[in-house]
Structures are given as C-alpha cells and as structure tokens.
C-alpha cells in the first residue's frame, strides 16, 4: 500500500465507520434499515450538521466558535418575535439569519482586529448572547406562530418524502463543498489556517478571511435556529445550550484537525451522521439514555485514537 493509498483510506475512515455502524445496526434492529427511519435520522442530524458546517470553517482556521448555541437562541427569539408581530415567514427568517451573521461578524472582528484568542472571544460572546436571548424573551418561551409556511421549514416535506431540514442540510453541504474546494476564498481559508503568517505575506487578507468565517458560522447557527423554532413552533431562550460541543464533535470525528489548515466538509457531514445513527440505533435497541452517553463517549475516543494511530 503506497502512502497515498494509506492517506486516502485514513481520510475515508470516518465514512467506513459510518457504513460499518449502519450495517451492524441493520442486523441488530429490523426497524433501522427503512426509508422512513433513514430520513428520520437525517432530520434529527440536520440541525447539528448545519451548525457543524460553520464550525468546520472556524476550526479550519485553527479557531473555534463556542457562541453558536447562544447565537441560535437569539436568532430563534428574534424570528419568533417577528412572527408574533405579524410579519411573514420570509421576514422572520431574514431577520434571524441577518442577526446571526451580525453576531458572528462581531466574533470575527474581536478575533481578527482585537487579536483575542477565538476560544476566549467566543466564550465571552456565548455568555453575553445567552443573556441577550433571555432579556429579549423576558426569560420565557415564545410559541404558537400559526403560520403554515413557517411550520414547513422544520416539519415540511419536499416531494412528500424528504424533510425540508434534510434538503436544507444537503444544499448547505453542497455549497460548502464547492466553496472550500473550488473558490479563492476556500483556498484562503486553508492557507490562513495552515500558516497565517505565510498567507499574510502572500497577500491573503487574513483579517477579512477570519471575519467572514465567523460571520458565516453565525449565519449557519441562525439557520439551525430557524429550523428548530419552526419544528417546535416555539422559541426557547435557553435553546442550543451545549450545541457547540455536538458540532465540534462532528467536525473532529470527520477528521478535521483542531490545529487548523487540514480537513474537509464531507468529513463533518459524516461525523454528524455518525452521531445521529448511533443515537437512533441505541434508541431502537432500547438502550437506556445513561448507557447511550457512555457508548457515544467511547466511540468518540475510539475514533480519535484510530485517527491518531495513522500519524504516529
């Protein structure tokens, strides 16, 4: 086996793990391998996957975005407030996504211009924005939008089969794939994460790249927030707490390096699906929630250890 083959195999490792887990579950639970269950899993995964796509960008830069859960909550509350004030679904979605982008760009500016470590900067905004969500909503959920169009976003189907959130996830995946592999911006993200100084000396506007990446991450969290709000027909100011960790898990399971500069969006999709499939399978088998945590944690450690094993 040549080194190139080995590298390719290793890169596909998470995907092979996903296939392996699916095969195993198909044998263990007759209800696993059905079309409706497959779309169920993907719908459950979609919110985490959408957040994780944005997280992939910040991690590729060698950074991290801990504020995604709080951005999700603020966007969700703002969308709900627009709906309640009688605006249409389009306006509510627009408000949420723009707000998410603005909050994300705030992270980006603090990190790029203020030269604050991403972990610290987004830890700060995570707390701050959670407060904002509570202030805006006065601490209580905002529910009942009575809009069929808005309810479609989280609960509707395309062609009466594919859930709308799944379509949203796949479209986002395609867009991210294209941007990261084919565009100048994508190349600049990898360059900044791989060697920021060399990138800057080569004329890459690394500040702009950072700000854009965190803006996109915020917008993605807002999109996830819209899906969640629509699905629950309710906006919770406490929603999204801990989502940043699920997203980071998906990114890392997918093989993207926390050191930056190396990774791919397909891995993140696979990572998110792997978490979802495990949840679903363990539920179908009637494993208790307590043991589920144990199994999930063990799988994460195992995956990361296997990934390291190839590098030495």
């Amino acid at each position: 086996m040549t080194p190139q083959h080995k590298a390719t195999l290793q890169r596909l490792g998470p995907f092979l793990a996903l296939v392996g887990v699916c095969i195993a579950l198909a044998f263990m639970s007759p209800n696993f391998l059905t079309v409706s269950n497959a779309f169920d899993v993907m719908r459950q995964v979609s919110i985490n996957a959408v957040i994780a796509f944005g997280m992939t960008l910040s991690i590729l830069l060698g950074g991290i975005d801990l504020s995604v859960g709080s951005i999700l909550a603020v966007s969700s509350v703002l969308a709900a407030m627009s709906m309640k004030s009688g605006e249409g679904a389009a306006v509510a979605v627009g408000v949420a996504v723009i707000a998410g982008a603005v909050m994300g760009s705030l992270n980006g500016v603090v990190i790029a211009k203020g030269k604050v470590a991403p972990f610290i900067a987004t830890l700060g905004t995570m707390t701050l924005l959670r407060g904002v969500a509570l202030v805006l909503s006065n601490g209580s959920p905002i529910s009942d939008f009575s809009s069929n169009l808005f309810a479609m976003l989280g609960g509707g189907y395309v062609a009466r089969l594919i859930p709308v959130p799944v379509v949203a996830m796949l479209v986002m995946f395609a867009v991210f794939w294209f941007v990261l592999t084919r565009t100048v911006f994508g190349r600049h993200v990898y360059a900044t994460g791989g060697n920021a100084e060399a990138a800057k000396l080569s004329g890459v506007d690394t500040d702009r790249v950072q700000i854009l990446v965190y803006t996109v991450s915020g917008a993605m969290a807002a999109i996830a927030g819209v899906i969640l709000t629509s699905r629950l027909d309710s906006a919770q100011p406490t929603a999204g707490a801990g989502y940043e960790l699920d997203a980071i898990t998906a990114v890392v399971l997918g093989g993207t390096s926390l050191a930056g500069g190396r990774g791919w969006i397909f891995g993140t999709l696979v990572g998110a699906l792997l978490i979802g499939v495990l949840n679903n399978g363990l539920n179908l088998m009637g494993v208790s929630a307590f043991y589920q945590l144990v199994v999930k944690g063990a799988v994460i450690l195992l995956a990361v250890l296997l990934d390291r094993g190839g590098k030495t």
Binding site: R182, T183, V184, F185, R187, H188, Y190, A191, G194, N195, E197, A198, A199, K200, L201, S202, G203, V204, D205, G261, R262
Partner: protein, 496 residues
C-alpha cells in the same frame, strides 16, 4: 578516543538513505561532514549519537565494537550532539536546562547549591562565565544558548561532539567566539564532527573533511591538501561550472527609490535607489536592520517616516496586500514559517499569491492553474514527481524555488530577497542565482539581503551596508572587498 563507523546502512521504508558509509573521527580533530541536502549527513549523525539505529554496519570505539541504542547510551559512551534547532526548554533556567533529566537530588529534593557550583564551572570552561545560571534560557542570544549546550555536552563528559550547522544563526562575532572554544576543546582531546553548508568556515576551522553524496561515502580529505573546487565536485558529483553565474545586464532607469525611511525604532533614515536590472545587496550583522528594511518596504512593519517611489510613483504601502498590488514581491527569510504552507502541495503553494489570476468570479479554474504550475516548474527547474506533492517532502533548494514561483506568476517590478539561499546546497544555490539573474535581465529591480559575504559580493551590483539600524554606506561591488564591508558593518558610519 578513536571512533570508527563502518559500512553503515539505513533505510526508511523503501528509501535507502545510507548505503555502506564509512566515517572515522579521532580525538583532538575537527572533522567536517559535508554533502548536499539529502545526502545522509543528519541520518549518519543520528545513528552515531543513538537517535536512530543502523540496519547494517558497525561502530567501533578504540577498536572495540559498541552498540548505541539510544541517545542515553550514546552519552554514556561520550558522544553528544548539538542540534541546529537548539534543544533547550525556553521557559526554564540555564541551570535547569543543564541538568534536565539528571538533577542531583537527595530523595527527590533537588540540591540547587551543588547544581549551581557545577554549572558555573562548566559555563566558564566554554567562555560563558557571564551567563547567570538562574537566567531563563529564552533570554539568551542564540550564540550564548549554543555555548550553554556545549557546556552541557562537556558536563556529560563528551569526548566526541557533533555540531549540526552550529553557525547558521550566529553573528560573525559569535562565530569567532565559537571557533575559539572549538579550538580549546580540540586541544583538550575532544573530537568534533562539524556539519555545515558554509564552505569558507570549513577551510578555516577543520582538519579533515568527509563527503557524502546520495547516501554513499565519497571520500575523506585533509583540509590542507584540498580546495573548494575539489570538495564541491565530490559533493555534487560533477564539476560545478561557476559558483556564481555571471550576469551581463544593462541597467534601466531607477525603479525603486527610497528616501529617509524609518520604522518604529529598528532602522533610521535609509536612502537608496535600485535600477531595473540591478541587484542591490544588503550586508551587515544579524540584527543590524537589513530584514527590517525589507519588512518595512513590504508593509509588514510600520513605516514612521520617509517616502518610497516605484517608477516615479509615490507608494502608500500599509499592508503586504498593498505592496503586492504595487508590484513588489518578497522571498522571506524563513521559508518554513513565512514562505510556505507546509502540508500543502507544491501547486497550492506556488499559486497562493496570484490565485486570482486563475479564477473567475472567485471560482478557481483548475485547468489554468495546473498549466501555470507546470510552466513554473519547468521555468525554475523544480524537481518533483508531480505538482500535488507536499512541499515538506522537497529538498531545501526545491522548496526555495517554490517560494520564488509564488512571485513569478506575474513578474514583479521589485523583488525583495531575504537570505535567498539559506539552507540550500551548493547545486541549488547556483540555480537560484540563475533565477535571480534572469529576473534582473527582465528588468526587475532586486534587493538581496544575505549574510554570506561571498554571495553578496558576487551577486550584487552595489552593496548597502547596515550597522545598528543605520546605513553605513553603499559600495560598488566590483571594487570593494570583504574586509571593507565587515569594517563598515561593525564600525558603521565612522568607517564609511
């Protein structure tokens, strides 16, 4: 002691890096080990000190075969190595570094008093008595850190000392000190293996020289009975026609004009002009402000006063992006941290600066990119199987050519070069000089900082000498000598 390595072979995977190599060093001798990058010098020395084990061959000390399975065992036999990248822990004190892993202790409690007394005596033996043992290692200059490493080797009772590129980041003065210490060690019977790319030093300090090429032992010579050309021929396996290829270029009009340039305290009132087709060399000691001039011109450091004109037009450069837009290029000093994205392919690295040229509305056209990279590889003689290889796997010379390639996709009006041949072997150097000459012939104005005086003298039309942030003078390269430049670099304006 007499140390002999016989028939040493070593492979990494399918790659055979050493093939039946012989090497011998006696006590009281300074023995140079030379060869191009990838010739196997480092591997051979790692086997000697115990960091690697050989696949075949034997090591004899005073005729007795020994096995060295770890650096610990190597040290126990009296073999110590000083790596090019020094091995100190920057946040620890000199004292702690000297005794790391073998602290004298009493039931686990470190005996600092004893440690300090011993440390002082070793430091004074290597001429570093002025170093306080309590100082943190990172506060010492590279030169002093190196002396501390030598002191550590002595404390291990080393009788064979391997020094890997010890002068690469030292100032001229520090090199002089180092050579004095090396001669003292030699007089005390220590054998020193000296690995270096700097041929001039080899002739001034070494007794013998052994040459490796492509993992083979080519030969051993007495330094007194050989010359530069013979050694280089042994290293590259052919006669190198000219060390510095000639350039016949008629100078064009002034391209770059710098007036009264100052930054935030490193450089003061710098004036110079560079014509199209001209190479302006910059000489001076490390820290004299040469690199800072380039960094300020390129918008990395902040310009606090002065004017920069390109083809008569006033430039307002605040960031590297502005400099690139104006037509400047910058081959930086440290290609690993500033020049290349390691882990990236040759293709991605070479198109990073001018990627937009191969893109339409932000989308990269891979066909155009691949074609451009292929052309650059041919133009610069970059030797690599294909453009998708990780730049990490290339030799120093080829890596440096990739850094040049970044700038050549659009020929720059002005190209700034900071130590363009550092860590590049003799053959690679000649090729880089040819690239510089071709650029000059195409009308580029070139500013080249270099610490290798023969290179500055041979490659420049004029030489600007820096001393402690001040411009000590501009000399005509055809009529000036190394001594004049060194005088200006050490004494500054008084000499000029």
């Amino acid at each position: 002691m007499n140390l002999t390595m016989k028939g040493i072979s070593k492979s990494f995977g399918p790659v055979r890096v050493l093939d039946g190599v012989d090497f011998a060093i006696a006590g009281g001798e300074i023995h140079a080990l030379v060869g191009e990058n990838g010739a196997g010098k480092s591997t051979l020395m790692k086997i000697l000190c115990g960091a690697h084990t050989a696949d075949a061959g034997s090591i004899l000390i005073d005729g007795e075969p020994v096995t060295i399975r770890s650096t610990r065992e190597g040290e126990a036999l009296g073999i110590a190595i000083i790596h090019q990248e020094l091995n100190m822990i920057p946040q620890l004190s000199v004292l702690d570094n000297l005794f790391l892993g073998r602290e004298p202790n009493h039931f686990g409690v470190i005996e600092r008093g004893r440690m300090e007394a011993q440390a002082r005596s070793w430091l004074s033996k290597v001429g570093a008595a002025q170093v306080e043992p309590e100082r943190r290692a990172e506060t010492l200059s590279i030169g002093l850190q190196q002396l501390v490493e030598i002191a550590k080797a002595l404390s291990l009772n080393a009788r064979v000392l391997i020094m890997d590129e010890p002068t690469a980041s030292l100032t001229e003065r520090e090199i002089t000190t180092l050579f004095v210490i090396m001669r003292e060690l030699k007089a005390r019977g220590v054998g020193i293996v000296y690995v270096s790319h700097r041929m001039e030093e080899l002739f001034s300090i070494c007794d013998k020289v052994s040459v490796l090429r492509d993992g083979h032992f080519v030969g051993e010579r007495q330094v007194a009975q050989t010359n530069f050309n013979e050694i280089v021929q042994m290293m590259v396996g052919r006669e190198l026609k000219e060390r510095f290829p000639k350039r016949e270029v008629a100078l064009g009009p002034v391209r770059l004009k710098v007036d009264d340039l100052c930054d935030e305290g490193h450089i003061h009132h710098i004036h110079f002009e560079v014509h199209g087709g001209e190479v302006l060399g910059m000489a001076g000691l490390i820290g004299a402000g040469r690199s800072e001039i380039l960094n300020t011109l390129f918008g990395v450091n902040r310009r606090t006063s002065g004017e920069v004109r390109l083809d008569g037009r006033l430039l307002a450069i605040r960031r590297p992006i502005d400099a690139i837009a104006a037509g400047l290029g910058f081959v930086t000093e440290d290609r690993k941290s500033q020049g290349l994205v390691l882990g990236w392919s040759l293709r991605e690295n070479s198109t990073l600066v001018h990627l937009a040229k191969y893109a339409h509305v932000g989308i990269v056209n891979r066909t155009a990119e691949d074609a451009a990279v292929k052309a650059l590889m041919e133009e610069l003689h970059i030797r690599a199987r294909d453009a998708e290889l990780d730049v990490k796997s290339l030799s120093g010379g080829n890596q440096q050519k990739v850094v040049f390639a970044k700038w050549l996709a659009r020929p720059p009006k002005v190209l700034l070069l900071d130590e363009p041949t550092r860590g590049v072997d003799v053959g690679g150097k000649a090729e880089i000089y040819q690239i510089i000459n071709r650029l000059a012939a195409a009308g580029t104005a070139i500013v080249m900082v270099s610490s290798e005086l023969p290179e500055v003298l041979a490659m420049s039309d004029r030489i600007l000498v820096m001393c402690e942030g001040q411009q000590a003078g501009i000399f005509d390269a055809r009529t000036t000598t190394q001594e004049q430049i060194m005088t200006a670099a050490t004494q500054g304006l008084r000499a000029a």
